[in-house]
């Protein structure tokens, strides 16, 4: 008997998203279920880990094991899970504030630790859940937040370039307005053997209505994905932040636990006997 292939809708849970109408995260959810179906991953062998934010609610909407933790710590929890359970497909998901601000340190170290997992950041250049404050990827002169009435006044965090500098081996950017391109990227990221980082431009219609014009601004990467870090650095330095596609892909040594059972506890305890 052959097992019926899973379809995208089999990966959808029956919980209704809290997202606003028109939120880009709906498209990420749907592209992700398609990517999982494409890969034929058994639902119970996938685990989605998130922090806090609108986008971090995503695990509950996927029919797979999920863990909705605390703000900024998704990558840490995901790393612990992967270290303990290398057999699972581990995906960390969340927002730009969650991942790059409060979780910035974990982002750097997850890139360099290179465990086999996927990290999807739904970047809407704003803190959605706390109602519209600037995030690390917000431009310096965005004046619409009450907390930064003169605009953040600081340069944007550059997720892709920072991921490259920190040692990530797979760096891609997708756009929620291009569902099929995003599905392809997500499937490639999940298949990649190592830490795969995907920044998804996912507009917030409520607090960033100005992002309606992202549709005109995004453009696909002209070249094939590079495996050359120097070349990737050149591309990312020249990048306007709107280039989509796989920006860098190179296989690098993956961190794995070296658990090789070789002694019993009783044998270990021998060291203390007189």
């Amino acid at each position: 008997m052959t097992v019926a292939a899973l379809r995208a809708k089999d990966y959808k849970s029956d919980i209704k998203p809290v997202w606003c109408p028109g939120c880009g995260d709906f498209a990420v959810l749907s592209a992700l279920t398609k990517a999982l179906a494409h890969l034929g991953l058994p639902k119970e062998r996938a685990a989605l880990i998130s922090g806090i934010g609108c986008s971090s609610r995503l695990p509950a909407y996927i029919n797979a094991y999920g863990f909705h933790g605390v703000h900024g710590r998704a990558l840490a929890a995901a790393s612990g899970l992967k270290a303990a359970r290398p057999d699972l497909a581990v995906l960390a998901v969340g927002g730009d504030g969650d991942g790059f601000s409060i979780g910035g340190n974990h982002f750097l170290h997850a890139c360099r630790r290179n465990m086999d997992m996927t990290y999807i950041v739904m970047d809407n250049e704003v803190y959605g859940m706390t109602k519209g404050q600037a995030s690390p990827t917000t431009g310096p002169d965005w004046m619409d937040s009450k907390m930064t009435p003169h605009g953040p006044g600081v340069r944007r965090f550059q997720p892709a370039a920072i991921a490259l500098a920190a040692g990530a081996g797979f760096i891609a950017r997708g756009f929620s307005g291009d569902p099929s391109g995003l599905t392809r990227i997500l499937a490639a990221a999940i298949e990649y053997p190592g830490f795969a980082f995907v920044q998804v431009l996912s507009p917030c219609p409520t607090f960033r209505p100005d992002h309606r014009d992202w549709k005109e601004q995004v453009h696909g990467l002209e070249a094939e994905p590079t495996g050359n870090a120097v070349e990737a650095a050149r591309i990312l330095q020249a990048d306007d932040g709107m280039t989509t596609g796989i920006l860098y892909a190179e296989e690098l040594p993956v961190w794995q636990p070296r658990n090789q059972a070789s002694a019993s506890i009783a044998e270990i305890e021998e060291e203390f006997r007189l």
Partner: protein, 574 residues
């Protein structure tokens, strides 16, 4: 010369020097040698925060009975050099009956020590060391100490071989030669070797940090994530290779926020997990621990307390993290707080903490401290927990699986990733029985009740405390301080005052009824602890667990509580 008056037959030796002088190595060998001679023993270390060039002292006490603390005074002090001795002179109380062994070539005994009136015994330690190729003064001094204390020469040699085993042939040889030279140098043994307490069969020589590591392994911990901090690091260094040997792993995290979330992630995956830290690290972990409580994912933290607040006194001991351990989490977050009562008990208490956390799907905080963690003891082999408690995992969840179901005992069915039909999302947001986030009053109340019920209703058995003695005078204490209280009680009893001791191992949830029973009929109640704020005393009062008129002996670190101090406090008000 007398040893501690009422703990007769225990001998206290301090070996002092500056960092690199080998004081601690000599102390470790002395402890092992005493053990080989049939004694029980305890070694505590004192060092400053400097990495090199600081002060360094090893204090060794040995005798015919198990020892849980240092005594009130020292019988013998050996000065390897006098460079930083002022920094710990107050940790080594000497008196006119004490002896100071030193090499006059290294300098005269400094006033801080000379003022004690202890007898000065000059010996040519340096000269002897210089005569041996690769010889070192600490080893010559060790030989002299061994002779003075009446330790057999073979016991010393065996101690050298054990402690310096991985140093290689020439070091070993030179050390043995130095010890022999020192042994020959010493005057008559003027301290009778304490009568050995039975055979050495089955005894262990173990440090508190290692003991917590052993307890973790016994409890089933197979994943550890942690960030280095004094004085917890040694536990992690000990565990790293040994976890691999039993099929687990240790991950050095980027910070404590990562380590606590890593262990929660691993535990969500079904692998019993633990982290170890000290005060400042515990503060950083509290948000994550609240997550573990709310999402009902087992997690264990061993907090090796040091002097606080802030970075405080990193290398010295205190029991001042009780408040944060009990009350630090936001929201109503019931969890377990335990404290080992001795180095040996670090094994039992840590194992028990892991088992309870797994079984009750909750957080267990273990409050060890520097004086346990960085000390070593010669002890009987540690005992195991009575009946292994494991996590209850649903392999075949029923059709209507509800991860956070409201069960009678409060423990809900748990599936692990990979189990078909058991899919759920663990959540730190308040949720309903299925795990779906909910802000409804009824769901909140029901889940809060359940998380409290599973802890309050569980039968912890007799391990909640160690009870000793009987009588109208009761001393309540917790954690490492129990060692000094036990010895104080021994002296009080020898003086005709029976003492009832209640040493709490399970601090939360407080076993109020059992405590009330243990205190029944007590006329005078003292609460003894090593912190400035009388944290246990206040907690017990808040829980209405103390009779009116109960008194507090709370003294901060870093000097250890001495038995004599406790005797004096409780007799002054008799």
């Amino acid at each position: 010369m007398n040893s501690d008056s009422s703990s007769a037959r225990a001998l206290s030796v301090a070996i002092t020097g500056s960092g690199g002088s080998g004081a601690v190595t000599a102390g470790l060998i002395l402890l092992e040698a005493a053990a080989r001679a049939g004694c029980y023993g305890l070694l505590t270390r004192s060092s400053g925060p400097q990495i090199r060039g600081g002060e360094s002292a090893a204090m060794v006490r040995f005798g015919g009975q198990p020892l849980g603390c240092m005594g009130d005074r020292f019988d013998l002090l050996v000065g390897l050099d006098w460079l930083n001795v002022n920094r710990f002179a107050d940790e080594i109380p000497l008196d006119g009956e004490g002896v100071i062994l030193f090499d006059p070539g290294v300098g005269a005994v400094p006033p801080a020590l000379a003022g004690s009136g202890a007898r000065q015994v000059p010996l040519p330690l340096k000269e002897q060391a210089a005569a041996i190729d690769g010889g070192r003064l600490n080893m010559v001094a060790l030989g002299a100490v061994g002779a003075i204390c009446g330790l057999p020469r073979e016991a010393l040699a065996a101690g050298v071989e054990r402690v310096l085993a991985d140093k290689g042939g020439s070091v070993l040889e030179a050390s043995l030669a130095c010890v022999a030279a020192g042994y020959a140098l010493a005057p008559e043994p003027f301290v009778a070797l304490p009568a050995p307490g039975g055979g050495t069969e089955g005894r262990w020589n173990i440090g508190g940090n290692e003991a917590c590591g052993v307890g973790a392994l016994r409890g089933g911990v197979r994943f550890v994530a942690a960030y280095p901090i004094t004085p917890a690091s040694e536990m992690l260094e000990w565990l790293a290779p040994r976890l691999e040997q039993v099929g687990g792993s240790l991950l050095q995290a980027e910070d404590e926020l990562a380590s606590v979330n890593m262990i929660i992630g691993a535990s969500f995956g079904g692998v019993p997990s633990l982290t170890a830290t000290s005060g400042p690290g515990l503060s950083l972990m509290l948000e994550g621990l609240g997550l573990a409580v709310a999402s009902e994912i087992p997690a264990v933290v061993v907090n090796v307390m040091r002097g606080g607040p802030s970075t405080g006194i990193p290398t010295k001991s205190e029991q001042s993290d009780l408040n944060i351990a009990l009350h630090g989490m936001h929201g109503d977050a019931p969890h377990l707080v335990l404290a080992p009562l001795s180095i040996r008990d670090c094994v039992f208490t840590t194992q028990w903490a892991v088992e309870l956390a797994e079984h009750l799907q909750t957080v267990a905080l273990v409050l060890s401290d520097q004086s346990l963690g960085q000390s070593r003891v010669i002890t009987e082999a540690p005992v195991r927990t009575p009946a292994p408690l494991a996590r209850r995992v649903e392999e075949e969840p029923e059709e209507d699986y509800r991860r956070y179901a409201l069960t009678a005992d409060g423990v809900s069915p748990m599936t692990l990733p990979g189990v078909p039909g058991g899919i759920y999302t663990a959540d730190g947001l308040e949720h309903n029985e299925r795990g779906t986030p909910s802000s409804q009053a009824a769901d909140h109340q029901a889940q809060l009740d359940k998380r409290l019920r599973k802890l309050e209703g569980f039968d912890y058995g007799p391990a909640w405390a160690e009870l000793h003695g009987a009588g109208p005078l009761a001393i309540v204490t917790w954690g490492s301080t129990a060692g000094a209280v036990l010895e104080a009680a021994g002296r009080l009893e020898a003086g005709g005052t029976p003492v009832r001791i209640i040493a709490l191992r399970l601090l939360a949830p407080l076993r109020r009824a059992a405590l009330a029973e243990a205190l029944a009929g007590a006329e005078r109640v003292w609460v003894v602890e090593q912190n400035h704020g009388a944290q246990l005393f206040r907690y017990l009062h808040a829980e209405q667990a103390l009779p009116a008129g109960a008194r507090s002996l709370a003294r901060p670190g870093p000097l250890p509580l001495r038995p004599g101090e406790i005797v004096a406090a409780v007799t002054a008000t008799a």
